[in-house]
């Protein structure tokens, strides 16, 4: 149990606010903050002691602070019954927190120009990253997207932290109309970017990875695959990813991710077991019917 191990603690709700389409919740969760590195996430238990909901809900970390032994802020939208329960919490309520979990973003050793691309709530994960990159004197260019104005998270924070910010909304209500990935090529060119960090739905990450490959620069993408435990024991969260050995492995995004090199993920085969994956059904490998 090294220091980089996660902790599991009863977290106490400190604040709960609604901003745009999202709930922002700050938890006092001693031990998480000091271990946290950008890109990692926390897994929360929902529903209380007699809960009928057994799976954890995972959230990117928006900010950690050393106050009260360590606080963690997350930004989330109400989607199903677990997030609905979370949104109903009030200060002093208790939530079980496990974290920080997952592999963080790799950081450049020298100052390099970065594009930070985020869509909807997923943008939250960019801010702790930006803080660290700033310390390393990296020029930062934000690209933020969402369905509409309400769904764009962190435009103000990005303006504070970044050298530039561009926004795209699908309904055109803020920034340019369209998808934020459509702004990426010109952002890379304009800023002479050397790396792209992205937190977004799968479709966007696929497109980001392609674009970066075209420019020959690395895409560090944080995926948001459905997770169940967040700790690596259940095998729910697998993606087909090409390993260092050149073979495709079904890897758990909660422990081997959520951050991957974009070109390693076999985006077109997500939701399948590629026939050439390690351990794929033999029948398929032999070209027989499954």
């Amino acid at each position: 149990m090294t220091d980089s191990s996660p902790v599991q603690v009863p977290g106490t709700v400190l604040t709960m606010r609604r901003i745009g389409a999202y709930q922002t919740m700050t938890l006092v969760a001693p031990g998480v903050a000091e271990r946290f590195r950008p890109g990692q996430f926390v897994a929360l238990a929902v529903g209380g002691e007699q809960s009928s909901m057994l799976l954890r809900r995972c959230f990117a970390v928006r900010e950690v602070k050393p106050d009260y032994g360590g606080t963690v802020e997350i930004v989330f939208s109400v989607r199903g019954k677990g997030t609905q329960w979370l949104a109903g919490l009030r200060p002093r309520d208790i939530v079980d927190v496990a974290g920080p979990l997952g592999r963080p973003f790799p950081l450049p050793r020298y100052p390099v120009t970065c594009v930070l691309l985020g869509v909807a709530h997923a943008s939250a994960a960019l801010f702790p990253l930006a803080a660290v990159l700033r310390q390393r004197d990296c020029p930062l260019h934000f690209l933020l997207g969402g369905a509409g104005t309400e769904e764009v998270h962190g435009a103000r924070g990005a303006r504070r932290a970044g050298d530039s910010v561009a926004v795209a909304t699908e309904d055109g209500s803020l920034g340019s109309a369209g998808r934020v990935e459509d702004l990426l090529a010109s952002a890379i060119e304009g800023a002479q970017a050397e790396v792209v960090y992205a937190c977004a739905p799968l479709e966007t990450l696929r497109s980001v990875s392609r674009t970066c490959a075209g420019y020959g620069i690395p895409a560090q993408v944080a995926v948001e695959e459905p997770m169940a435990c967040g700790t690596g024991v259940c095998m729910a969260c697998v993606l087909p990813v090409i390993g260092d050995d050149g073979a495709t492995h079904m890897v758990r995004t909660c422990v081997e991710g959520p951050v991957f090199r974009g070109e390693r993920v076999r985006w077109d085969d997500v939701g399948t077991i590629p026939f050439d994956a390690l351990g794929a059904p033999r029948a398929l490998r032999l070209g027989e019917r499954p």
């Binding site: 599991q8 057994l54 435990c229 700790t231 095998m235 729910a236 794929a280």
Partner: protein, 332 residues
């Protein structure tokens, strides 16, 4: 008052009865970040197959009321990598390892058992009999007493003395006692119960099954009453056969419930997904629960629900009683 938590599973003694359930504790390393794996009675590995397996496509898990449906398809690295990488790590930690094995034919089970035979650090073998038998229209071995018995016989033959073989049964049968008896007759040293129930969920927006594998296995507190019933029935029929009880254990008193029904040890599955510290918490809670009830030895509680009301006699059962641990075991 201190509680003696030791338990016996046939020839083996464990320092306490709490273990991870197969497929719910990772390789041990994952939970090892939350507690020392050697603190548990044992670690049960995911079911190990002869070859690596990529498992089923996602989505693989779905939440249901107080339960979880899974269709992971036994993703795993295969016996070679297991022996090279995972088993030695567990051994180094001082964990007692129960290796769950799986296959799609009697030969595959036998093959894995043979490979394990020469490996150090195997405390027991658990046969996952819920795998589809490719030689019998994909029906699971657990569905038929004869098929289950055949697998047990093959594994027992290929496992060295002193390493007990447990047959893990499915509750998805008309007569679980019949299957249990067949397995015991075929040489199983003990029985593990229960595996997941066969279930399914449909997404009411996409109109599609919520699992890519269409149907899956239901686990979690939802199924605990079925687990308690199976353990109770089988313990009544085969009181000398040790049982590893599992199914929906979330707290120390849940574990005690299975013990009272007849389990000598208790495996914790889905609760690990919900609470990565579940196993050590449950162990602590079980200790407290026994203490609060004036029970000084775990063995006294095994099967107590079968006794007439008011019975809590101290008894030394040759099977579940507290034997002196052997030297090797007490060193761990």
């Amino acid at each position: 008052m201190s509680v003696d938590l030791r338990t016996r599973l046939g020839p083996v003694s464990l320092p306490n009865p709490i273990m991870t359930a197969s497929g719910c504790g990772g390789t041990g390393r994952e939970l090892g970040r939350f507690f020392h794996v050697a603190k548990l009675g044992a670690i049960v590995t995911p079911s190990i197959t002869p070859e690596p397996r990529a498992g089923r496509p996602a989505p693989r898990l779905a939440e249901t009321p107080s339960g979880v449906l899974n269709s992971t398809g036994l993703q795993g690295p295969g016996i070679d990598v297991f022996l090279d990488r995972d088993l030695p790590w567990l051994d180094e930690q001082g964990a007692r390892t129960i290796v769950s094995i799986a296959g799609n034919s009697v030969e595959e089970y036998a093959e894995v058992a043979k490979r394990l035979n020469s490996a150090p650090g195997v405390t027991a073998v658990e046969i996952n009999t819920s795998c589809p038998n490719v030689e019998d229209r994909g029906l699971m071995f657990a569905a038929h007493p004869t098929a289950a018995a055949e697998v047990v016989r093959a594994v027992r033959t290929n496992t060295r003395r002193g390493v007990p073989v447990f047959a893990k049964l499915s509750a998805d049968v008309t007569d679980v006692v019949g299957v249990a008896m067949a397995c015991a007759d075929a040489g199983a040293d003990g029985l593990s119960m229960i595996n997941t129930l066969h279930g399914m969920a449909v997404d009411t927006w996409s109109f599609r099954p919520r699992l890519a594998g269409v149907t899956g296995g239901l686990s979690g507190p939802a199924i605990r009453p079925v687990a308690v019933r199976c353990v109770y029935q089988v313990h009544a029929a085969l009181p000398e056969v040790p049982i590893i009880g599992m199914g929906g254990v979330r707290t120390g008193t849940d574990a005690l419930e299975l013990i009272l029904a007849g389990a000598s040890a208790v495996a914790v599955g889905t609760a690990n997904l919900h609470d990565p510290s579940a196993c050590t918490r449950i162990l602590r809670e079980l200790d407290t629960a026994l203490r609060e009830r004036g029970i000084t030895g775990l063995a006294d509680a095994v099967g107590l629900a079968h006794k007439p009301a008011g019975t809590l006699i101290r008894r030394i059962d040759p099977n579940v009683g507290v034997g002196e641990p052997t030297e090797q075991e007490s060193l761990q």
